[in-house]
Amino acid sequence: MSNSNVKTRKSGYLATKSYTANTLMIVAIGYFMIPIVWVIVNSTKDNQDLISTFSLWFPKKWHLVQNLHGLLTQDGGLFAVWMRNTAIYSISSALGATLISSMAGYALARFAFRGAKLLESFILGLVMVPATALVMPMYLLFSKVNVVNTPWAVILPSMMSPFGAFLIKVYVAESIPEEILQAARIDRAGEFRIYWQIVLPMLKPALVTVFLFSLVASWNNYFLPLVMLSDNKLYPLTVGLTSWFEQASQEGANSLLFNLVIAGSLIAIIPLILSFLFLQRYWRGGINAGSVK
């Protein structure tokens, strides 16, 4: 292909390319937004309007305030309890996962100890076993130590984040030079102090990433709490909303909760979307490191 040929085509080509690209992106934005728009629009409807008005436009009579009120008062205010549970479960397991995997990742990257490689592939292999296989035996083990039907049954298993550890490992290898650590050791700083005061601050973007991704993983967790928790005051949002949905589709008139399920879904997705938006700068740096390798 000759040079001149490319040049003559280039400007016209760029224009059409961004035209096509822009159109495609707008279409894709529409696609990704449909469920969100739907949930926003329909959280303003009562149960009658839900099935009798056009589903992508607002109703004549706004019912948003009533729905939110209903959400907070149904079953003695259970929704607020679920919301709080979800926040507690996911924040504590995300904090735990971040701390634990940062230590492990740091160790894997900077201490060439025996068996590290083997350990890595062993854990990766184990992760391939589906959760349904794990939950049942986990329940049996947990019940032996009286942890079933307590928050711990949900929080502790979610602190395990092999991918978090690998992400940190990659990040440490790339961004924390061995020399800094050696210098600190010469100053006779203890290993844990080095980790806590020097390594951790340098890991910030990776930590935020691991935190956010663990947060999402446990915020969205459904199967584990479904089996572990039987007291509905301990449910997280996912299990609670599903129980309302089942009730709504099973009982009809007795408790038509579709409007609440929809309003509840809206409230359930807002916190995560916001945290991703506001922490964008950090997590993108973190993923960046993880995906290069």
């Binding site: 490319v6 040049k7 760029l14 822009n22 495609l24 992106m25 707008i26 894709a28 934005i29 990704f32 469920p35 969100i36 739907w38 329909n42 099935i51 589903s55 230590m103 492990a104 160790a107 894997l108 201490f111 060439a112 100890f113 590290a116 854990i123 184990l126 992760v127 076993v129 589906p130 349904t132 296989a133 794990l134 939950v135 049942m136 035996p137 049996l140 083990l141 502790l156 395990m160 980790y195 999402v216 969205n220 459904y222 949002l237 996912t238 909303l241 399920v261 929809i262 995560l272 979307i273 945290s275 991703f276 938006l277 993108r284 993923i287 960046n288 490191a289 993880g290 995906s291 290069v292």
Partner: protein, 290 residues
């Protein structure tokens, strides 16, 4: 010094190892123990070595479920990864206001719990709650039924595509952002077009990120559970062994066959393992031959 290093390394690993031991190795060990037992409703428990595994390998319900998710994966994963990769290349090349908005919105479904996504799409697919059936009716497609035996698998793949395309795109995009500009500035000087650069320079450079997303997609697809399980009230399509994971769930919790259910889960894990192994070696060989 070396010993001390090694010891410190292990010490830092302790919390992680404890968690893995307690919440992965212990339950897995226990599950494996369960899977070597036969437990019939009448007659009680007995040790049967690997007989449950042999049964699962010839169990038509299990095989049908595996086939279904395999076909599902063969169709859905390439489409999703193609969209993810193309989008990543586009937003990497453009960096306009629109592309930034697109990037955020495409990623947003990742933050939506799988359960909620299934609920929302479940409503959208319905004729009375959602727009699609009505719109299709106006366009002349009569009786569009997202829940029919034939359609349901596509309805599910749409939910999965919606949920994960943006996530995969971000991973590939981040890898693209990590490339040093020099790599393709040379190509620009050579007069290569943006598309040529994208295909010849950028794509091979982020091959690992794409492989990673492929790997996650395979594992996720083989373990498909939440979406069909939530929507089963709406459709007759979700049979007892619709996916291997649903089968294992039904075995354990509906039919009290905990032992066989454990064996089915391990067999599934084995299938996943073999598949990912094949996937990795094929893609490596391909990369080498290029």
């Amino acid at each position: 010094m070396k010993f001390k290093q090694s010891l410190t390394g292990w010490l830092f690993m302790v919390p992680f190892l404890l968690v893995v031991l307690a919440f992965l190795v212990a339950p897995l060990g226990y599950a494996f123990y369960l899977s070597t037992q036969a437990d019939t409703l009448v007659g009680g428990q007995s040790f049967v070595w690997l007989a449950n595994y042999a049964t699962s390998l010839t169990d038509p319900v299990f095989i049908e479920g595996v086939k279904r998710v395999l076909i599902f994966g063969i169709i859905q994963i390439p489409i999703m990864l193609f969209i993810s990769t193309t989008s990543a290349l586009v937003i990497d090349a453009l960096n306009t206001r629109l592309s930034r908005i697109f990037r955020l919105i495409a990623f947003m479904p990742y933050a939506v719990p799988g359960v909620v996504a299934a609920l929302m799409w479940g409503f959208l697919y319905s004729k009375s709650f959602g727009p699609f059936v009505g719109i299709a009716g106006h366009l002349g497609v009569k009786d569009l039924n997202f829940y029919s035996l034939r359609m349901f698998i596509y309805s599910i793949s749409n939910i999965i595509t919606w949920a994960w395309t943006g996530y995969n795109m971000i991973i590939i995009y981040s890898a693209l952002q990590g490339l040093s500009r020099e790599v393709y500035e040379a190509a620009v000087v050579d007069g290569a077009s943006q598309v040529q650069i994208a295909i010849r320079v950028k794509l091979p450079a982020v091959k690992n990120a794409i492989l990673l997303t492929g790997l996650f997609a395979i594992i996720g697809t083989m373990q498909l559970f939440t979406e069909p399980n939530i929507l089963r009230r709406y459709t007759n399509a979700v049979s007892m062994g619709y996916t291997p994971n649903i089968y294992s769930f039904n075995l354990a919790f509906a039919q009290s066959q905990f032992n066989y259910a454990a064996a089915v889960s391990f067999t599934l894990a084995l299938v996943v393992f073999v598949l990912t192994y094949i996937f990795m070696s094929v893609s490596r060989r391909k990369a080498k031959s290029q």
